[in-house]
């Protein structure tokens, strides 16, 4: 490689490094705003600001879903294993909203510590399998109440030990 080309190679590398650094610094500075997310544990511990729009997510606690018979109002509890928070929502829940599976909710935390959601989305995990396989797993591990089968997350096992203790 001759000297001119080597110089241009160095310039290209410098360009990449410079742009990379600039974007990394920008994302680092904006990290709070890109994803205004609080876990149920943070909300329960009072670390989340009250009345500010934010995202919260966790697993729906089995047996906690209460539907209003007159309207579309629904309330349920979400947990990340370390803490729980009640979510109130009015509207149609997505098809994949299942007790024990993950949801992401957008809304505000009210003064009494309830998360008032304006949007509830079902979070899907990266596991794909046929129904027979899921049935086999269910038979092998009877009724955990959670729909997520393979690779039980630590949050789930922690939550189960919490429930067993109570």
């Amino acid at each position: 490689m001759n000297a001119v080309r080597k110089q241009r190679l160095i310039l290209v590398l410098l360009l990449l490094a410079g742009v990379g650094l600039a974007v990394a610094l920008m994302l680092f500075a904006l990290r709070e705003n890109i994803n205004h997310y609080f876990s149920p544990a943070q909300m329960a511990a009072g670390e989340a600001p009250v009345g500010q729009r934010m995202r919260g997510g966790g697993l729906v606690v089995p047996g906690s879903v209460e539907r209003d018979t007159e309207s579309l109002k629904v309330s349920f509890r979400i947990s990340d294993g370390a803490g729980e928070v009640t979510v109130r929502y009015e509207g149609i829940l997505p098809d994949l909203f299942v007790e024990g599976s993950g949801v992401v909710a957008l809304g505000k935390l009210s003064n009494d510590g309830v998360f008032e959601a304006s949007e509830v989305l079902a979070k899907h995990d990266e596991n794909y399998m046929p129904p027979e396989v899921q049935k086999a797993i269910d038979d092998a591990h009877p009724k955990s109440g959670y729909s997520k089968p393979a690779a039980q997350t630590t949050a789930q096992s922690e939550l189960r030990s919490l429930q067993d203790g109570s």
Partner: protein, 244 residues
């Protein structure tokens, strides 16, 4: 190190001659692979335990997303070669790849939205993965528009190469967005270091579809590049002899 092979590789005439021999192979293999993978994936694999049949869009969504990112990486490589070695063929490749990459990107965003509606409950969410993918589409459109806005070939080549290189910073952001931020989009199902979290009877048609999409991309890219070579080299003797 001897770089003559590299410059020979960059000769438009040499590429035109050799790529003509690849075309029938590419046509047959991409057609067969995509047909087999899609028929297998859409009709013969079992449904998912949770999503039922709606997960089947994965056989188009995942290959399209892979290609949207891979084509951009190839464009960035071509951009570096254009800037450092001033090889014309690299710039031609950069030019013809941009619309193909943009098409895969649109396909990925559209299939993702169609899947997101029944699964998540929304067509679109300003999630880190979805947003960075949309930025990738804007980069593709920007590169195509920049080429169209500059009339001299050399100036356009340089400007597009620089823009392509600047935009490559978005690729690791797309890849790692699901790990760095708490996104609605799930994590990677196919991982390089771990076992894929997908049943084998669903995984095989997916891998075949990805391979088929790569071959299809190569076919379309070679076809477009051959036309680009003829149009840019139209004043040379070999092209004049070829068309007469």
């Amino acid at each position: 190190m001897n770089w003559t092979f590299f410059h020979k590789l960059g000769s438009p005439k040499w590429f035109y001659d050799i790529s003509g021999k690849w075309l029938p192979w590419l046509q047959v293999s991409s057609l067969v692979l995509i047909l087999v993978a899609l028929v297998w994936g859409l009709a013969f694999t079992p449904p998912d335990y949770l999503q039922g049949n709606s997960y089947r869009i994965i056989f188009i969504h995942v290959p399209a997303s892979f290609l949207a990112q891979a084509v951009y990486m190839m464009m960035a490589t071509a951009a570096a070669v254009t800037l450092i070695w001033k090889i014309k063929l690299a710039d031609m490749a950069l030019k013809v790849m941009a619309p193909i990459g943009a098409s895969f990107c649109i396909l990925s965003l559209a299939t993702g939205a169609i899947w997101g509606q029944p699964t998540w409950g929304t067509w679109w969410v300003w999630d880190a993965r979805l947003t960075s993918m949309l930025i990738l589409l804007f980069l593709y459109i920007g590169i195509i528009a920049l080429r169209g806005a500059i009339h001299t070939t050399e100036a356009a080549a340089k400007a597009c190469a620089i823009l392509s290189l600047v935009g490559v910073v978005n690729i690791p952001i797309i890849k790692f967005s699901v790990d760095w931020w708490n996104t609605l989009h799930q994590g990677a199902t196919l991982k390089l270091t771990e076992k894929p979290s997908m049943a084998p009877e669903m995984l095989w048609p997916l891998l075949l579809a990805i391979l088929g999409f790569y071959l299809f991309f190569t076919l379309v890219m070679v076809l477009r590049l051959r036309i680009e070579i003829l149009s840019r080299e139209r004043k040379t003797r070999w092209v004049k002899e070829l068309v007469s």
